[in-house]
Symmetry: C2
Subunit: 254 residues, 2 copies
Amino acid sequence: MTAMTAFSVRGAPIESADELEARLRAIGAARYHNLHPFHRMLHGGELNKGQVQAWALNRYYYQSTIPIKDAVVLSRFRERAIRLEWRHRIEDHDGDAAHEGGIARWLKLTEGLGLDTAYVESTEGILPATRFAVEAYVHFVRERTPLEAIASSLTELFAPRLHEERIAGMLSHYDFINPEIMTYFTRRLEQAPRDALFALDYVKRHATTPAERAAVCNALIFKTNVLWAQLDALHHAYVHGHIPPGAFVPDDAR
Amino acid sequence: MTAMTAFSVRGAPIESADELEARLRAIGAARYHNLHPFHRMLHGGELNKGQVQAWALNRYYYQSTIPIKDAVVLSRFRERAIRLEWRHRIEDHDGDAAHEGGIARWLKLTEGLGLDTAYVESTEGILPATRFAVEAYVHFVRERTPLEAIASSLTELFAPRLHEERIAGMLSHYDFINPEIMTYFTRRLEQAPRDALFALDYVKRHATTPAERAAVCNALIFKTNVLWAQLDALHHAYVHGHIPPGAFVPDDAR
């Protein structure tokens, strides 16, 4: 059990890079959004199509903000080598003339779910809470130290297992899901581990004091909150039925 | 019925200052958080003490951020007259050596509810969604136009009626509430109308094109979202029982 509040680690100072890695992994084990009840419902086939639409619509705002977030991270580094390493994250999401990127793959998912792409791209129907959480991530990497900006990406350490569970669960439980519209996740299975290991190595080498190691942990906690709060908002709106004014209303909830 | 999405007004251009005021009042009538089910429960005596504590604890983060937000607004104006007008908002909340301000009055409420003041001030137990929504407000007034920064304060137009309902409802329904710990609200009954009328007059005079009037409306919609999202998060955590990791757990929910 890692002692922490909603926002920060507590307890003894973190004295080494290996201790830091152990704390980061403990934070993931306690706080990553694979544990959220909405994900258990999503992967277990307990949601209806409208609820899955709401999830994909809102998550599009997160996905489409990631290259913006990564451009801000890139802008924090004078070291060309780090900029080169980080740039491929923007490329992975935005693609180019010859290759589709992660955002285009996400739009395949929303289109496959029957959502109008122009409506999805407008982001006018998402939950305000989605916008607040995602924008908080962009502000975080702009306002905190470059070390914390990199540390906040470390949720990727825990993503592959979640994506494997999601692909298997959604394909087996929903007749409106097929492998073609799930390519975002299959592709991320290759991309995320490389990115995560770079970031983990970076924070282990550059956080050299207990205060810096605590800041790295708190950046990861912050990021788990960004992800968790998005699912809380979806759960409240589309499972408990409290859709806020003006937000997307699925056909089956009208 | 005012046509709008979760984030913006739609429909015909707003052609005059009076039309603008009518639209702003229609947005308040449709979107202000007096309509939120959590407030209906709070004012109707349907919450237990732990749920009222959670509300006051989280709302402290909003209250204590308001002078920071107002300092950012003040910093946007080169006109001394506007800075002088806006400065009294900071004074109202922060007080001075001789006068207690709104934040001190809010701490009377949390203390009266049995919460430890150091814990409240630490803000370590609030919901991450509270932090995201409140920080979004600070970022908004920093990043948008000065006109939009002022417009986002216009929810104060609708506050007095809500506060009257709150004072009467909470005093009559809860044996742990007494007039002394409700002075924050009684004081705001005098302060909010003055502030709101200044801001309303300002936006009516300075929004001179349909695009600027739409931006003023959207700033008010944004602010109603900031308030609504905080109550959604409280409702999800403390009424439906999905308290996120590390957040405040009332004694009666342990």
